[in-house]
Structure formats: structure tokens, C-alpha cells
């Protein structure tokens, strides 16, 4: 007994529909006889049998669409003894053996073109890595490369900046800080800053008594973890002042200044153990004070725990640095490239001051600006500082 199967008639024929049987059980057929009509995408095609014998059984009914290779009928070969429908005996003719398919071994692809790491000239770094290193003032020779042949990748530079690479969980470090790496990064950044940026310095004494009074009143009814701090007022004032003085808010890159529409204040945060970093408080100009304070707290906490995002490191458009109550009267900061200004906030000191013609004790804070003289000059810097001072006179409007 042999099976007459749905034939393959073309490279793109996958199935056929039986539309007519030209034989029935009991009919004798010889090789080459047309036994059925099959409908395909090309039209109806007559199909022939390659075996001679007697039709024993039709297996598939009309109008059924079946894949190529499906048994359609059974043919008893001439000379075979009639059997009750048993399993097909071994066939004499070269019956269709299981098709020996073309080898399914996955074709070995051509050897992948391995990017040669290039001659060992110093370090190799990807374009993205270079850019990040430049922006964050990292000296590439300090970075350990994990790419092919020791090349430095973006993630390698991020690692040095002290935070886990966002998209590579396997690179995640424990939330602790590598102070050595941080100090190295700071050294590189500060050295570059002083090498490249012509700093000028201005200071301005601001009467912050209104601020202190306002804060005291505001905080009277609040628990310590909800209280507003003076630093928040300064940050907001600086952020608002940037609107009027865009020359201090932005980046100096590729030999030109790119002012930033957004104002992201870099908040200088000292870390116990000797670290210093200044992550961004985003859109500080738009935040209500309470919200700003909350975010600042969160920023400080995460910074000290080593959980700062890379966008927070890269985004500040101007930095504010304050040494707080333990600090000195005036602090002159070093600009973090590619920013173009840094505001220093000294501690509040009670001094004799002239108000409305009379001398009295007032809380005075010395604000400083270190400015990039390629982008701004003393005149603008002075006006900028004055504006900040003015804003601080009306803390309720911040």
C-alpha cells in the first residue's frame, strides 16, 4: 500500500485544495494517470499518480485545503494481497521517503568582522565616552576600559562619575561611593576649569534679615523635617534671576556659549568622608518653595547614599555653593565646566548696618559670583548679583 500525497508543484506552493476526484475506490490507475484536480493560487491543476495500482481509500474530502505532503488517498500496488485496512506494508517502489531536507544546521555566518581595537596608542574610547568625559571633565587616561581590547565605553566613564550605569544592571555597584575616583574626577574637572575658564570674581553683601524673619514665621508651625531652609530661598532667587540674565545660565561648548532655556541649579553638596558633588535640581525656577525644599532634601539624601542619576550630574546650568553656618563669610567657587558661573553663599553674620538712616544690627550674607569672562563680564555679573539680592528682600514672593 502506498500513499498518494498532496504534491508540491512550485517553490511557493504551501497547500492545495482538493476540488475534484477523478477516481474512486476500486479504480485501477497507472503511472501518469490524472487522479484529482487541486486548486492553488495559480488556478486548478490536474495532479497525476506516479504509482500504479488500485485505489483503496480516499482520505481527504473535497474542498479541504491541506498542506503539501498530506496523504490524500491510499493505493494498493498491483500484486499486493488484499488486506483489511492495516498499516501500510513496506513498499516495493521507491516510495516517498521522509524528505531529506536541506541541512538545518544553522549556517555558520561569515566570521563577524571584529572591530580591531586599533594600535595600542594610549587609550581607545568610543565617541560617546569621549563626549561624556569631556563634559564631566574626566581625564580618559584615568578610566579603565571594558570594551574590546580595553577600549573605554560610555558606561566606563559613568562608573568613574560615581554612579551605576542606568541601563546595565550587572554594572550596578553597591550604593557606596568611591572617594578616590571622585577625588580624581574633581581634580580633573577643577584643573580643567582653571586651565580653560578665565574667572572673574565679584562679591555683594545682602541683608537677609527679611528672609530670616520670614523663615522663622513660616517654620514656627512646622516640624524640623518640613522646615524651609535659607538655602532654598537662595536657590530660588538665583533661578529666577537667571531669566533676566541668561548669560549665566547655560553651557560653553565648542567655542561658543549655549544659553539654556531651562534652569537647573547645581546644588553643591559635601559628602562625609571627603566627597563633593553638585547634582542638578531641575527647573528650580518653576518649583514652589516647599516643593523645591523637598527635592533638595531628597537630592542631598540620595547624594550622600550614592544614588544620583547621571542626568542629575550632567544637567546643572549654574551651580550654587554654600558652606552653611559652619563656613566662612565669603566663598569664591571654581566654575564646573561646561557651566559658566557659580554662586557662592557665605554664612550669615550679624553686622552693624544702615537702614533708613539709622545704624542697627542686621544679618548680612556675602554672595559671590565667579563668572566665565568669555561669556560675561563684571557689569553683567554685578547686575546679576544685585538681582539675586533684590529677590531675597521679598522672600514671600519667591
Amino acid at each position: 500500500m502506498v500513499e498518494f500525497r498532496m504534491p508540491s508543484l512550485g517553490p511557493d506552493m504551501e497547500a492545495g485544495t482538493l476540488v475534484e476526484w477523478l477516481v474512486k475506490p476500486g479504480d485501477w490507475v497507472k503511472r501518469g494517470d490524472v487522479v484529482a484536480v487541486v486548486d492553488t493560487q495559480k488556478g486548478a491543476i490536474e495532479v497525476e499518480t506516479y504509482q500504479a495500482g488500485q485505489i483503496e481509500q480516499i482520505l481527504v474530502s473535497l474542498e479541504s485545503k491541506v498542506p503539501v505532503g498530506t496523504p490524500l488517498a491510499r493505493i494498493r500496488i498491483e500484486g499486493e494481497a488484499k488486506e483489511a485496512a492495516a498499516a501500510p506494508p513496506p513498499v516495493a517502489l521507491p516510495a516517498p521517503a521522509a524528505p531529506v531536507a536541506a541541512p538545518h544546521v544553522a549556517a555558520k555566518p561569515a566570521p563577524p568582522i571584529v572591530p580591531a581595537p586599533g594600535p595600542a596608542v594610549g587609550y581607545q574610547a568610543s565617541p560617546a565616552a569621549r563626549r561624556l568625559a569631556q563634559e564631566r571633565c574626566i581625564d580618559l587616561s584615568m578610566v579603565k576600559g571594558s570594551g574590546p581590547g580595553g577600549t573605554i565605553t560610555y558606561a566606563d566613564v559613568e562608573l568613574l562619575l560615581g554612579k551605576p550605569a542606568a541601563a546595565l544592571p550587572e554594572r550596578k555597584r553597591a550604593p557606596s561611593l568611591d572617594f578616590n575616583a571622585m577625588r580624581t574626577a574633581i581634580a580633573a574637572a577643577m584643573a580643567r576649569s582653571k586651565r580653560e575658564i578665565p574667572h572673574y570674581y565679584l562679591d555683594h553683601q545682602v541683608d537677609v534679615t527679611p528672609c530670616e524673619l520670614w523663615l522663622a514665621e513660616k517654620n514656627a508651625a512646622r516640624t524640623p523635617d518640613n522646615r524651609l531652609l535659607f538655602a532654598a530661598l537662595v536657590i530660588k532667587s538665583v533661578a529666577l534671576a537667571c531669566h533676566r540674565f541668561p548669560a549665566f545660565n547655560g553651557f560653553y561648548r565648542d567655542n561658543k556659549f549655549e544659553p539654556s532655556q531651562a534652569v537647573h541649579i547645581g546644588v553643591a553638596i559635601a559628602i562625609r568622608g571627603g566627597g563633593l558633588t553638585a547634582p542638578a535640581l531641575h527647573d528650580a525656577d518653576k518649583l514652589p518653595l516647599d516643593e523645591l525644599m523637598t527635592q533638595m532634601r531628597d537630592l542631598v539624601a540620595r547624594t550622600r547614599a550614592g544614588r544620583i542619576r547621571s542626568s542629575e550630574m550632567a544637567d546643572p546650568t549654574i551651580t550654587v555653593s554654600s558652606l552653611g553656618e559652619r563656613g566662612v563669610e565669603a566663598l569664591y567657587g571654581v566654575i564646573y565646566p561646561p557651566q559658566v558661573a557659580i554662586i557662592g553663599v557665605g554664612k550669615s553674620v550679624v553686622r552693624p548696618w544702615v537702614v533708613d538712616g539709622a545704624i542697627g544690627p542686621r544679618s548680612i550674607v556675602t554672595l559671590t559670583i565667579s563668572g566665565d569672562h568669555r561669556v560675561s563680564d563684571g557689569h553683567g555679573g554685578a547686575l546679576f548679583l544685585a538681582e539675586i539680592g533684590n529677590l531675597l528682600q521679598e522672600p514671600e514672593k519667591l
Binding site: 508540491s8 508543484l9 524528505p99 536541506a102 561569515a110
Partner: protein
């Protein structure tokens, strides 16, 4: 050869051989059809049923040193020329024991030993090739004849006209054999040519031309003898239009919507093998046991070819880029 080269030999032995060769092609093609439906042979496959008299009438007239260019419907030509059936079948399967190392498949049978220059899947593509082969032979002052087989569909292609012109202009020793089976795939000749008398097209380029009944192997052989002789002696091209019919569809996957079954039946009655066999029987040149013997031998040869192909091996994938250029064991990304 003892008889004059251009006269047909009608000995019983020769006639039986003609019959045998035609049956051999027919049986081979039938087996290919069967194997194709079982997916052993893939791609496009074009069978020669009905046209056997042309290959069998023309090719044995050629000498070993002569050259042959053919089309994608070239199994018959390859077999008659002497390409071993085992190697042809293995090529159909894609095995590296095939005559083209399995690289070509049904449409690209090549055999250097017998000067068989392929198998060409571009309609008309072999025509310029044939005049080039002939040009080389002419420049070397040999008497080699190049035979170029093509279908009547090719006469629509610009390359046909360029070739006819060049062949006549440069007097190149080419025998053009046009197998006019009335259909270019699914387009009838009457619907695609303003002038359907094909031999006229060659004649108007001043190529000697004649038409012959392509279903009559003796007539084809006689015409071929005259033609080959003329080409060899005069070193000029000759055009032989063989009027024939394709009893099967264009290729396996063809519903034949473009022609009537009735027409096919009419031509089936002119089947070159049946006709010839009947004539031999009527002339008492052949006895039933001759036929049985021929058929048995051929069936055995076909079975052996299938077994050979089944047992054949797949070329290792690592060798993929070989044979793109000469003398390179492995290709780089060049």
C-alpha cells in the same frame, strides 16, 4: 563515419537508438516531476515532454568538439549530449556530486567535458554567448560548430536580433535551433509576434533558415545534418526552426489557463515518441521485446540516478563563497 555526413542513416540500429534516446528523456522527466512533487527537487523546473525529437535529432549530429548552449528547459539536451544521468539528477537535488556541484539546479546544468555551456534562466541570454563561442572558434580557424537552442519566446528579446545580425555580419559558425512550441510560458505566439513565421526573422538578417516538423525525429535529424554540414563547411550561421509542442505545462506550477485541453490532446496525438514507435512497428523495425528491453534498461538507469542523487552529499556551508572567483579556497568579505 562512412556515409556522407549530411545524409541520414536509417539502419535499424540507429533508429532504435533514436527511439531509446527519446524514451530516456521522457522517463527522466517523468521521474523529475514525481520527485518535484515530493519536494526532492525545488525551485523552478521545466520539462521537455513532447520536444524530445529536437534534442535527439540535432545533438548526435554534432561532434564531440562542437559546443552547445541551451535554455532552462535543457535536461533533454544535457542527457543526449552525454552528461551522465547520475550527475544531472544529483544536480537537480542540489547535491555537490551534481554536474554543477549542486550550485545551479535544474536551470543551470553545465558540463565542461562535453562542451555543454549551460542552462540559462534568462530568455535569450544564451544567444550572445553562442556567437561569442563561435567567434573564438572562427578566430582560431577551427571548424567547430556552436549549437544554440532557444525557444520562440526569445525572438522578442533585443538580444535575438543583435545576435542574428552579428552572426550574419561576422559569418559566425552557429547553428541556431529554435524550439517553437507556440507558447512563451503562458503567452501564445500569435499574441506576441507580428510575424509568426519564425524562420522569416532569421532570413531577413540573411541567415540561411528553414522550418521542420519538430515532432518527427527523422525529419529533424535530416535537417540537422544538412544544417551542421553547411555551418561547418561554409562557416556561416544556419537557423533551424523546429515546430513542436510542449505536452506538459511550462513549469511544474502552472495551471495552464492560457490554452485549451482540446488543443493539448490534438498535439498529444502527435507525440514524437508514439509516432515514431508506431512507424517502427508498422515497418517491422522493432519488436515488442526490443521495447521492453529498452524500457527496462532505462528504468534501471533512472532508478540508479535517483539512488545516486539520494546518496549524494550537501556541500558544506563553510564553502559558500567558493567559485565566485578563480583560485580562492575561501572568500573573505571581498
Amino acid at each position: 563515419m562512412t556515409a556522407p555526413a549530411d545524409k541520414p542513416r536509417l539502419s535499424r540500429e540507429h533508429l532504435l537508438d533514436l527511439l531509446r534516446q527519446m524514451i530516456r528523456i521522457r522517463r527522466f522527466e517523468g521521474k523529475c516531476a514525481e520527485l518535484y512533487t515530493q519536494e526532492k527537487i525545488r525551485g523552478f523546473m521545466h520539462l521537455y515532454d513532447g520536444e524530445e525529437a529536437i534534442a535527439v535529432g540535432v545533438i548526435p549530429v554534432l561532434e564531440q568538439r562542437d559546443r552547445i548552449v541551451a535554455t532552462y528547459r535543457e535536461h533533454g539536451q544535457a542527457l543526449v549530449r552525454g552528461v551522465p544521468m547520475t550527475k544531472v539528477m544529483a544536480e537537480m537535488f542540489g547535491k555537490q556530486e551534481g554536474c554543477s556541484r549542486g550550485r545551479g539546479g535544474s536551470m543551470h546544468l553545465f558540463d565542461r567535458n562535453s562542451n555543454f555551456h549551460g542552462g540559462n534562466a534568462i530568455v535569450g541570454g544564451g544567444l550572445p554567448l553562442s556567437i561569442g563561442l563561435a567567434l573564438a572558434e572562427k578566430m582560431r580557424r577551427t571548424d567547430v560548430v556552436t549549437a544554440c537552442f532557444f525557444g520562440e519566446g526569445a525572438v522578442a528579446e533585443g538580444e535575438f536580433h543583435e545576435t542574428m545580425n552579428l552572426a550574419a555580419l561576422w559569418e559566425l559558425p552557429v547553428l541556431f535551433v529554435c524550439e517553437n512550441n507556440l507558447y512563451a510560458m503562458g503567452t501564445a505566439l500569435v499574441l506576441s509576434e507580428s510575424e509568426t513565421d519564425i524562420q522569416q526573422k532569421a532570413a531577413c538578417y540573411r541567415v540561411s533558415a528553414e522550418a521542420v516538423d519538430g515532432m518527427d525525429v527523422v525529419a529533424v535529424e535530416a535537417a540537422a545534418r544538412r544544417a551542421v554540414h553547411a555551418v561547418r563547411e561554409r562557416c556561416k550561421p544556419y537557423f533551424l526552426e523546429c515546430r513542436t509542442y510542449r505536452l506538459r505545462a511550462h513549469s511544474m506550477f502552472d495551471a495552464q489557463l492560457y490554452r485549451d485541453k482540446a488543443e493539448v490532446e490534438v498535439w498529444r496525438h502527435k507525440d514524437p515518441i508514439d509516432r515514431f514507435k508506431n512507424w517502427l512497428e508498422a515497418s517491422q523495425m522493432i519488436h515488442p521485446q526490443d521495447l521492453a528491453r529498452i524500457e527496462t534498461e532505462i528504468d534501471a538507469e533512472v532508478a540508479e540516478a535517483v539512488a545516486f542523487a539520494e546518496a549524494g552529499t550537501w556541500e558544506p556551508v563553510e564553502q559558500l563563497t567558493r567559485f565566485t572567483y578563480a583560485d580562492r579556497a575561501a572568500q573573505t568579505n571581498r
